[in-house]
């Protein structure tokens, strides 16, 4: 009973007519007609069109019902409202008029009288998808449901045909009386069905199944055209007020050059039903203000279009704000569509703390604080970014991040020595600012001993070629393709074919022991293939979403690496840019950064494209990318919101709070208390950020969520709070002993610094700001009461380190 939406009949309901008639309607700035061309092939074909008026303020309306359709040659096709049916072969033009605007659509009709035979793959299989029969919660489950199994989202149509027709002969289908087939009776609710009634007997779906049964439930013979693209229309919409509707139109293109209106066959979803729910007939109805990604799933394709819903008659005036660079410009475009105004610029103090924490992971000293605040140069923020980018802590930060992505840690098969060499390998490259494409190519194409060419340790983390392929896709392309190991990805384009042919790049990794038992040698074994679990086909290596390269006589990994880290791969630059963005803004433009998929669209597609292009243009010099981000006004916004952006949590219209990650938090505590740490394998005083091994930790680091690097998941770094963290900061030895050991208060009191001055220094050290008047007064009151000044000042220090303002970057 999991699919509540009942599949309604499919007459292409046109969106409810509005009160405004075409004649007195305000003139739109533009008229969009979808699709832009019509191709009708065979008597069973048809094509619906939708007409969208786009106004100068960006608002769109579905005017299909009010628009006038006129076909130049009525002998060619029949027009019923907005749907064209073929009559005779030929070409003509369809003119659509609305509010004085008109659009012409070319119409072509071929094989108008031919009635094609029913196809199991092309006609019947989509019914199971549309009706929800083969979802994971129904018959698509690995073990089926109630004794009947279909392949999940139809990845194995041959198997499905077998199960329907041969698995239990005579039970599921009845060729003598097709209507009495269990298949029909279950889905029509004639007999009890756990999944309930899926569609009516007089629906297009029942009709398709019956046609198939009447001709003997055949399997397709020979080559069947494949879907090569699925289009969804309109290309975005901005709906004005609750109740506004928009019909969605979906068209599939096939490998034989034909296309098909599959609006009635597509399964629709919305990623935000609160703003723009969609019915299974493809009608989106505006609800509450917000954004929504409307998706249609057909065959192995999921395609989407972006919807914005605004309150009716919203009073909004965009206040022009200067853009620092392209980042801001692209942000402003989106903000204007959403009718939100970004927050004000943050203060110099806020900026200073933020940029120090993000770029170098340390806090500014008291001297640096004063110098920056007193600097009158209008370019001082940009200068500070440049200055910080040159510091060694910037390198250390990114070495740590890469060490996480590349899982630098000791394991059963990786001893300390090769692990350390691997870490140093990364360190040397980041320190010399090696272009990222080069680094990744060197890494993934690496051969040799894990001592002598430490990059080869990458292949020691994981031995299973499938798992290596998954890791590579997740880290360097941001994609989780795991799903496709067992079934076609339900919410993305990846099929099992894609999965296994990508895994084939990693099927020829040879491994042998070096002279030193701790060393392994990674080489190209030149043999070994990956086979598809359904049917056992041997899969030729194929780039994910790309072509089948020539790998004969070559190291497959080198071929793959040279494609992966290059502009040929559309995901690489964007993915790294998104990882960098995520570090500085707290969440990805695609979020999570390693969950790139069609159904998880970027909040600002133009921005992620631009960042990817810039990064490529910079020859993968990621310092330049960091500079673009940190000098943008978007990065420098205040956390304070205004009326228009208070509820925005994903469009970056204001800064957001981010809990500081474990390593940096410990480093900050040590820095402000003037104390040193000793971590395994590092000299006294080294920073937690510099720990090479994922397995080296302390109670503090573990409790605050340091990544163990056991997986490539970005989720390993945890910043969620828990009880142990609160208890540790309140009662634990970290703060207690560090405040004592550093003895900052004792020293200042010896230097005869006034307690109020000490409080101010502590504030600047910990929070990069002076105490407010209110804070001064209240703290002075406490200071006055307690005799033991050292003790009470240490309590202030303790409180500052426990303060939310300290543990968050803001």
């Amino acid at each position: 009973m999991r699919l509540h939406q009942s599949i309604t009949t499919l007459a292409l309901l046109i969106a409810a007519a509005t009160q405004v008639t075409a004649a007195d309607a305000p003139k739109p700035a533009q008229l969009n007609v979808y699709p832009a061309d019509v191709q009708l092939t065979t008597v069973r074909d048809r094509q619906s069109l939708i007409v969208q008026a786009e106004y100068s303020d960006g608002i769109t309306r579905d005017v299909t019902a009010e628009a006038k359709f006129a076909l130049a040659n009525g002998d060619l096709a029949r027009l019923e409202k907005n749907v064209l049916y073929p009559k005779a072969d030929g070409a003509a033009e369809l003119t659509i008029e609305y509010a004085g605007l008109s659009v012409k659509v070319p119409v072509e009709v071929q094989r108008a009288t031919e009635d094609p035979p029913i196809s199991f793959k092309l006609d019947v299989m989509p019914v199971f998808m549309k009706s929800g029969c083969n979802t994971g919660s129904c018959h698509g489950a690995a073990s089926g449901k109630d004794g009947f199994r279909l392949s999940l989202f139809g990845f194995d149509s041959n198997g499905d045909h077998h199960r329907l027709t041969r698995e239990m002969p005579g039970r599921r289908i009845n060729l003598a009386i097709p209507e009495a087939s269990l298949l029909m009776e279950k889905t029509n609710g004639v007999v009890p069905h756990t999944g309930g009634k899926r569609y009516d007997m007089d629906s297009e779906y029942a009709d398709t199944l019956l046609r198939w049964l009447r001709v003997g439930a055949p399997q397709d013979q020979g080559e069947v055209p494949k879907v090569v693209a699925v289009e969804i229309y309109p290309k975005g919409a901005v709906l004005d007020g609750e109740g506004a509707t928009q019909q969605i139109n979906v068209r599939a293109k096939y490998s034989d050059g034909t296309d098909r209106d599959v609006t009635s066959m597509a399964y629709f979803l919305s990623n935000n039903d609160n703003s723009a729910p969609i019915e299974q007939n493809g009608v989106v109805t505006a609800a509450k203000r917000g954004e929504s990604f409307i998706m249609a799933r057909f065959e192995t394709y999921t395609v989407g279009t972006h919807f914005i819903v605004l309150p009716k008659g919203l009073d909004f005036k965009w206040n022009e704000v200067a853009a620092n660079n392209y980042v801001d410009e692209l942000m402003y475009d989106k903000f204007q569509k959403l009718r939100i105004q970004p927050s004000e610029l943050c203060t110099d103090e806020e900026f200073m703390r933020r940029v120090y924490l993000d770029v170098v992971g340390v806090l500014p000293s008291v001297e640096q604080y004063h110098a920056f605040l007193n600097d009158a140069d209008p370019k001082k923020r940009d200068n500070l970014v440049d200055n910080l980018l040159g510091r060694k802590e910037f390198v250390e930060m990114w070495v740590m991040k890469w060490a996480e992505l590349l899982q630098v840690r000791t394991t059963r098969s990786i001893a300390y020595k090769p692990m350390l060499r691997y870490y140093n390998w990364i360190q040397e490259r980041i320190a010399s600012n090696m272009p990222m494409d080069q680094l990744v190519q060197e890494l993934l194409g690496a051969s040799g001993g894990t001592f002598e060419n430490a990059a080869t340790n990458y292949y020691q983390m994981e031995g299973d070629p499938k798992k290596v392929a998954e890791n590579v896709a997740q880290v360097f392309m941001g994609m989780r393709i795991q799903c496709a190991q067992c079934h076609n990805h339900p919410l993305d384009r990846w099929t099992m074919d894609d999965y296994y042919s990508f895994a084939a790049f990693f099927s020829q990794i040879g491994r042998k022991s070096g002279e030193d038992p701790r060393e392994q040698i990674i080489f190209n074994s030149g043999g070994g293939e990956v086979t598809h679990p359904v049917g056992g086909r041997r899969m030729a290596p194929k780039f994910l979403g790309g072509e089948v390269p020539d790998v004969a006589g070559k190291d497959r990994r080198v071929v793959m690496a040279n494609w992966l880290a290059s502009p040929e791969n559309p995901y690489f630059a964007k993915n790294l840019a998104n990882i960098v963005w995520n570090h500085f803004l707290g969440q990805g433009i695609i979020n999570e950064v390693d969950d790139v998929r069609v159904s998880n669209p970027p909040v600002n597609a133009e921005l992620i494209d631009a960042l990817g292009q810039k990064f490529t243009g910079y020859k993968y010099d990621f310092k330049k990318l960091v500079r673009d981000i940190c000098t943008s006004r978007t990065y420098q916004l205040s956390t304070a919101t205004n009326d228009t952006n208070a509820t925005d949590t994903k469009n970056f219209s204001h800064a957001s709070l981010r809990r500081i990650r474990a390593e940096i938090l410990l480093d900050l505590i040590s820095q402000v208390t003037d104390t040193k740490n000793k971590f395994g394998g590092l000299p006294l005083g080294a920073r937690a950020v510099q720990i090479a091994n994922g397995n080296t930790s302390t109670y503090f680091l573990t409790t605050f969520g340091r990544a163990q690097r056991a997986t490539v998941c970005a989720c390993e770094v945890k910043v969620e709070p828990n009880l142990s963290q609160a208890l540790h900061l309140l009662n634990g030895d970290t703060l207690q002993s560090k405040v004592g050991q550093g003895n900052l208060i004792g020293k200042r009191l010896e230097e005869k610094v006034a307690p109020e001055q000490i409080v101010e220094e502590l504030y600047i050290r910990c929070l990069t700001r002076r105490p407010t008047e209110k804070e001064k007064n209240e703290l002075n009151a406490v200071l006055a009461k307690v005799e033991d000044k050292k003790q009470v000042l240490e309590d202030v220090f303790w409180a500052l380190l426990n303060a939310r303002e300290f543990v968050f970057n803001h």
């Binding site: 954004e291 997986t711 969620e720 609160a726 208890l727 009662n731 703290l779 406490v782 426990n802």
Partner: protein, 428 residues
Amino acid sequence: MKRRDFLHVGFAGGIGLTLADFFRIKEAQGAQKFYESKEGPAKSVIFIYMPGGMCHQETFDPKPYAPIEYRGPMNSIQTNVEGVRVNETWKQTATVADKLAICRSMTHGEAAHERGTHNMFTGYRPSPALIFPSMGSVVAHEFGPRNDLPQYVCVPNQPNQFAGTGFLSSSYAGFSLGADPASKGFKVRDLNLPGGVDEGRFTTRRRILDVVNDHFQAKEKSDSLDAVDTFYNRAYAMISSQKAREAFDIEKEDGKIRDEYGRGTAGSRLLLCRRLVESGVRFVTTTYGGWDMHGNINGAIRGQVPQFDQAFATLVRDLDRRGLLDSTLIAIASEFGRTPKINGNAGRDHWPKVFSVVLAGGGIKKGIVYGSSNSIASEPEESALTVEDWATTIYSRLGIVADKELVAPGDRPIEIVKGGKVRKELIV
């Protein structure tokens, strides 16, 4: 409830997107299965884990009539349930068998320690694609805290990676004591004020902290900020609630009771478990011993069991005396059993095909043996108990419908346990 809400909204947030809508997204992808969790007969669980793979033959499933190479070197004794025998070292447990449900037909296919452990803690086979949450974390996710105490506590520490939060937020992690209750001067880590800080000074500190926090809290609004506040408030409540603190203080227990449990590792841990569930903790996980007995099983059992036997039997009696047995579910589990035949080192090796687990109290039938293994304890003979059904049955006692779906990364709805059934014969 409140806590669960903000923890989710954190990543579901966005214009017009609330928690409820977040769930509706799932619905669109095939209707997320949702059931409200309501307290069941078991208000708490004491989950006793025997790491290493506890042999079934020398514990709860002796085979006195099997040939010597299967039977092993040890004898069995009669329990207080007619016809039910246990290994000879379990003398005291034999006297409370009428309160237990001994399951002799637990089965799965994972002969590696970590994979078997994963099964027993999560109710799932290990998956390459996903890390599953442990039962304790699921309980913390489904129910709020009681009497200022954390919902899920690990005695003394989280025993292994599978006892963690899996794909759930790390906020649902078990609270680790950080010290063993059997050790001298045992203190829960960070629960007590540090040396040199008395309550008066702590009050001053809190006042100063409030001053410092005021400014920021007036200025900022964020789910993640609220989340930190929540845990600080819980920490304050725990530090300042004498009752909550005393739940962790084994010294507060009567000396006679301590002796009855035994003052060793087993006795101290199980006694602390009782104190915790009595005070309001919902799920306590503890471990005892090392059970990977590849050699000299006779010596290993004789060395290890008596202490635990005493502690466990006392736990059952003690809970019963306090009227808490019916609301406290006790479980003894291990990653697998051990090979039917004694090996060349007089030990037994890994054997997941059949092994024994014990359930008691909290809505579980009393004095029964559930399922059986065959004559040489190599395979289940009756009522093979699967990992899914094991977990589902435990969840059901707590009032959690294990078919409920939680949200894993990638907006993937994942059942708490996939396809598990409640074993009706086990429950009251």
